[in-house]
Subunit: 311 residues, 2 copies
Amino acid sequence: MKINLNTSNKRETARAISIVEENNSRSAELMKNLFSKVGSAYRVGITGPPGAGKSTVTNQLTKYLRSQNKTVGIIAVDPTSPFTGGALLGDRVRMSEIGNDPGVFIRSMATRGSLGGLSKKAIEAGDVLDAAGYDFVILETVGVGQSELDIANAADTTMVILVPESGDAVQAMKAGLMEIADIFVLNKTDRPGSEQAFAALKTILMMKAHDENSWMPGIIKTVASENKGIAEVYDEIIRHKSFLEQKNLFLHNREVRTRTRIKQIVEEKLKAELWNDSREKSLNSSLEKVVLGNLSPYHLAEEILNSFRSH
Amino acid sequence: MKINLNTSNKRETARAISIVEENNSRSAELMKNLFSKVGSAYRVGITGPPGAGKSTVTNQLTKYLRSQNKTVGIIAVDPTSPFTGGALLGDRVRMSEIGNDPGVFIRSMATRGSLGGLSKKAIEAGDVLDAAGYDFVILETVGVGQSELDIANAADTTMVILVPESGDAVQAMKAGLMEIADIFVLNKTDRPGSEQAFAALKTILMMKAHDENSWMPGIIKTVASENKGIAEVYDEIIRHKSFLEQKNLFLHNREVRTRTRIKQIVEEKLKAELWNDSREKSLNSSLEKVVLGNLSPYHLAEEILNSFRSH
């Protein structure tokens, strides 16, 4: 498989991402061929609750990065419902706005079922964009599941977008978004209640234990639809990047994330070996006994494990 | 370990759940001793976005079940932030309201870190309540992560609570809540916009392909804080239960869920064996090479797998 990746050949990049999406031996081969070219791009994760304006922020930030002469690759992870099937509307609008810029590559990836697999594909697609030479790789995902944790685990800087609706900060806290945010973007601050939301968010952040060696996330106010506050978002990304470099955390954090990722690769392969036809069958044929209380699920699990160990 | 579980001994039940929370060999032993007593309770999962009124619905439904002379065990899964640490406020209020009823057992379980482990513990705590003899076991969780999928996977009937805010139905759809719901509860229908929200929800549901053999989720309107619509929620649970029994799906669904659960038990044990000290060390010592592009993550993963296979 010969793949010649660079920012001036979007078609080849798109083809590589399609191979990644197959998630088979061909994808594995591609990723093995790419790894030595991966690592130069700065990776930004963007997440937040539905309706917070993630796409709009991504859109405007991309335009700003282009004005700084940086190339941008975007992977937008769209959890969609099996009811509707397709990708969400926003993307098509965006495609026409920035997708024609030769320095921007944008690809939307929909779930169609399993979310876990999607994060893996999205992160590998980010690797493809990195290998192709894009200066910034943006991974965007809606913050309603596991995917935003996976995405945060693939980003150098993770931005959480919130809106000043009542309780949004509290909801984000409950959803675990507070823990993954390096930067908060409070979007749609032309709406009523934005000062209170800003104060609430600040209060919650202040409760977090921190010292001079730990990063304190900034809160940037934006009205992304009017392009307000976007330069400040960029400045905050650069401030975070500099902090990581100063504290020798940049490579360290990447190592920590690589560790998680390798563990996932190993575990996925092991699971595939574990659940072969024969063990699937022996599991299925014993389910009734377990449900009727005649066989302990823990005993059955042990039996399956033993069969794997002795194999 | 001698545990004598029944509904008239709350202290013993509480002790058993504390053992489950330890998630160690003692918990495993307890669950092995219990399994033959598990299976009589009807399990209801309750989930939905933060602020939808899950606790209030659970509270009122519990009172209604008590008026029908049914005993109720409740496990409330509270994803909390490491920032604040404690469980959420609502629970304490609730405890005093229904917690003193001898026919009600209520336990709140907080995340404190890993969500995956919590779901397992919550489901096992549900098993404890089942074994203790509670007629209904309610598993309640906020719908913002993986946990609600796990909870749905442990319930005979899963209820999704929504409020008539604009776009709530669409957000739930994005979050995958539509796929797990057997019953929709549209709560706070005294608010403006509730008729439109009802219609929107109905439209989305109608898009789902269905025939006479598939269950069509009902939408029940409630104002839980005023105890309105709760009898109808109960009736809908019973309607779903009857449907499952009529179509021979009751045990079948439990088998499907048991299958998932046993797979999780097996995989968890295998992972614990995989990541022993020596393999953790060899992973850690190679991370820098991977990050700098001198070693392929896929190659390293393969090395670790080989060491496990030959062990």
